[in-house]
């Protein structure tokens, strides 16, 4: 390759890419303008100055004109067309400096806007980049590298230390510390051993994992999150829709105004200047830029906000209702006491309760089933009935067995007796959740369950109050004693216990009827009606549950209560940011129009102000991407503390 060929190849590379070509043209015209200014004010060479300005205008203007022409070919009146007409007019009437400055500023502004807008979208880019393009799979015992989305479900994927996991799947061999920050925003890596589920986009920080692929490509949790975030970013907030309707009329009105202004005043400069300021740039970009940044920032910390509408709603929340089990508590209750009554053996009591609970997926049932299985194999119930919010009844080996709360016993007409009442009293005093077990219409014993408050729960509640959520309420189907023990521990003073799902719904409705803006936080199916009734529904631990990702307005990918104040803070900040941007944009438009008509602003100045306002609006939106100081401090606090703050009285 000789020198000329290499040069032409380089030129082609530089000019073949539209963005790069524009950057070169902008730089070129900028240098010509600088040279022209030196020629005029340094050496008084007016002729040279004019010549350089014309060349600068033509250089930068060529690209604008070409784009205007291409848009015109598909019948689209573009902003480039306005600028082209204005610059052509300026050249005709001899305003060389204005023409050069306008084209240069337009190109430079567009380039800067592209760069900053790209950064605003950057939060999502991190997520997109989190998915590796290739995967190493075992085929006939040999590792083969293939594109990640072509892995077949069921195939074994190898992941070495430091690599990103390319698919969703289950660990079959090996152990590793896996950083899930890309998905959940959680900085601490989780230990993964055979049987554990891993997600595409997470990083194996050490070890070597063999993973059986379950979901690949667009079916992975990461892909669904990206899709959700994008849909959320695209979903227009009500204020954005209003502005877009306004903007539709704005550009044509400006053209009309320019024509009318020329007809009345015969002032061609005034008319051309109006065309230059005619792009509603800052206005149309003011809300999308805040929403993209706000939702992107939230996604980066594992908070999915499902769109501008929900962002606006969440920004107004003043009351938060929380479910207890699984939300405020770990949702992993332990079997803390066993009280056998009426001559029943403890192992028989456990066996009956465990057999009945084995058919239910209630979180309180799990530890009972585990304890029952330890004693030996469990029989299969002949029939099984779930009583929502009360418990379960079953026929086991010909016996009618019921396990649940006091209300279930009342419903079935089973008396508690003095021993039963005494046992219940004892469990409630200890802050445990009692499960009453009856067989053949008689109470045979009680089981006491205790659950731990979630790590950081008290702190999260305190932060909610700090950011101005005046009322924090616990709604639970659990007994008052157990509910109040947890409430005291986390700092909630309004407790509604012993609720049925429809009671929760009614309470939420009541709060809203009283004028409150209510957010409901829950995780279970029994919270679904209350979640639907709230202004904003927040689901916890959504990374493992598609239902939560699909239905909640705000989904927290990780079970971390601290993310709730984060989500509220981000929503509020985004709302505020949107309002600031609107004010900046409207003031700019008003100022520009006033300036043009009073004769204080000419073409170059108008273009400068216009491009600056767009950049200011984008830069303001970008502020949302930063992690607020308090959130960072709180996150650091959560990590550094080793022991959760738990109650002492519950054993």
């Amino acid at each position: 390759m000789n020198e000329m060929e290499r040069l032409s190849a380089n030129m082609k590379a530089a000019f073949g890419h539209p963005a790069r070509r524009r950057l070169w043209l902008t730089a070129g015209s900028g240098m010509l303008i600088a040279a022209g200014l030196i020629a005029r004010y340094g050496f008084g060479m007016i002729e040279l100055w004019s010549g350089l300005m014309v060349i600068a205008a033509l250089l930068a203007g060529s690209d604008i004109a070409v784009r205007a022409w291409r848009a015109l070919k598909v019948r689209h009146l573009s902003i480039e067309l306005l600028v082209t007409i204005a610059v052509a007019g300026a050249l005709v009437i001899g305003e060389y400096w204005e023409a050069a400055a306008v084209t240069f500023l337009f190109m430079l502004g567009a380039w800067l806007e592209m760069r900053t807008m790209g950064q605003t979208r950057g939060a999502l880019k991190d997520l997109l980049d989190a998915a590796p393009a290739t995967a190493t799979v075992l085929r006939d015992g040999e590792p083969v590298e293939i594109p990640a989305h072509t892995v077949q479900p069921g195939e074994t994927v190898l992941v070495k230390a430091g690599q990103r996991i390319p698919v969703d799947g289950e660990v079959t061999e090996g152990t590793a510390a896996v950083s899930e920050a890309a998905i959940t925003g959680e900085p601490m890596p989780a230990e993964k051993a055979p049987g554990a589920r891993v997600h595409a986009g997470t990083i194996a920080e050490n070890g070597l994992l063999r993973i059986r692929a379950t979901n690949v490509g667009a079916d992975t949790t990461l892909a669904r999150i990206i899709q959700r975030v994008e849909e959320a970013q695209e979903e227009k907030a009500p204020s954005q829709r209003m502005i877009e309707r306004f903007a539709q009329w704005y550009t044509p009105s400006i053209i009309g105004l320019a024509v009318a202004a020329f007809a009345f005043t015969q002032d061609i400069r005034l008319a051309l200047t109006l065309l230059v300021v005619g792009c509603p740039g800052a206005l149309v970009i003011s809300t999308p830029v805040s929403i993209v940044a706000g939702i992107g920032r939230a996604a980066r910390s594992g908070i999915l906000i499902k769109g501008g509408q929900h962002l606006e709603n969440a920004g107004r929340i003043d009351t938060i209702a929380l479910d207890k089990t699984g939300t405020l508590t770990e949702g992993k209750p332990r079997l803390a006491s066993v009280i056998a009554l009426d001559g029943t053996a403890e192992d028989e009591l456990l066996r009956l309760a465990a057999t009945a609970e084995a058919g239910s997926d209630h979180p309180l049932g799990r530890p009972i089933v585990e304890a029952g299985r330890k004693q030996g194999p469990l029989p299969t119930p002949e029939t099984l009935d779930e009583h929502a919010g009360m418990g379960i009844s079953a026929r086991i080996e010909g016996r009618e067995v019921a396990a649940g709360n006091r209300r279930l016993m009342e419903k079935l007409g089973i008396p508690l007796g003095t021993d039963g009442e005494a046992g219940l009293e004892r469990l409630l005093r200890a802050g445990q959740t009692p499960i009453l077990v009856a067989a053949d219409g008689k109470l045979v014993g009680l089981l006491g369950m205790s659950d731990m408050a979630r790590e950081g729960a008290a702190e999260a509640i305190a932060r909610l109050r700090d950011i101005g959520i005046g009322r924090v309420v616990m709604l639970t189907g659990d007994q008052p004693g157990a509910a109040e023990a947890i409430a005291r521990e986390v700092g909630i003073d309004e407790v509604h216990a012993g609720l049925m799902p429809e009671d929760k719904l009614e309470l939420i409705r009541g709060m809203r009827a009283g004028g409150a803006h209510v957010a409901m936080v829950g995780d279970g199916i029994n919270d679904a009606p209350a979640l639907a009734a709230a202004d904003t529904s927040i689901a916890m631990g959504a990374a493992g549950s598609d239902v939560a990702i699909e239905t909640a307005d705000i989904a927290l990918l990780k079970d971390d209560l601290g993310k709730i104040p984060d989500a509220m803070a981000i929503s509020r900040a985004t709302l505020g940011n949107m309002r600031q941007n609107l004010v900046i944009a409207l003031v700019t438009v008003a100022g520009l129009l006033a300036g043009v008509f009073s004769g204080d602003i000419h073409m170059a100045g108008g273009m400068l102000v216009h491009q600056l306002s767009v950049l200011i609006v984008i830069a303001n939106g970008m502020r949302l991407l930063r992690v607020p100081k308090e959130a960072r401090r709180a996150a650091a606090g959560r990590e550094s503390r080793e022991q959760p703050a738990t109650a002492t009285a519950r054993t």
Partner: protein
């Protein structure tokens, strides 16, 4: 046969480029639907690859002054 192709561009800086790109894409043979999402820079095209392949989509977008690349999702 119609297929759906997702392209992404980092360069959309003003919402005015949205209709411009959409109109250019819809002008191609075999393109049934073209949607440009300004907020995310995501471009969704439903097209017949026999008449206009992915390369043709990229070229049409480049013609309006923006660089885009195909994306898996």
């Amino acid at each position: 046969m119609t297929q759906k192709t997702v392209l992404r561009s980092d360069e959309l800086s003003c919402p005015s480029c949205v209709p411009k790109i959409e109109k250019a894409l819809r002008g191609l043979p075999g393109v049934e639907k073209a949607e440009v999402r300004f907020n995310t820079g995501r471009i969704e095209v439903e097209h017949d690859p026999a008449q206009s392949d992915v390369e043709a989509l990229v070229k049409a977008i480049r013609g309006t002054g923006y660089e885009a690349r195909p994306s898996a999702f």
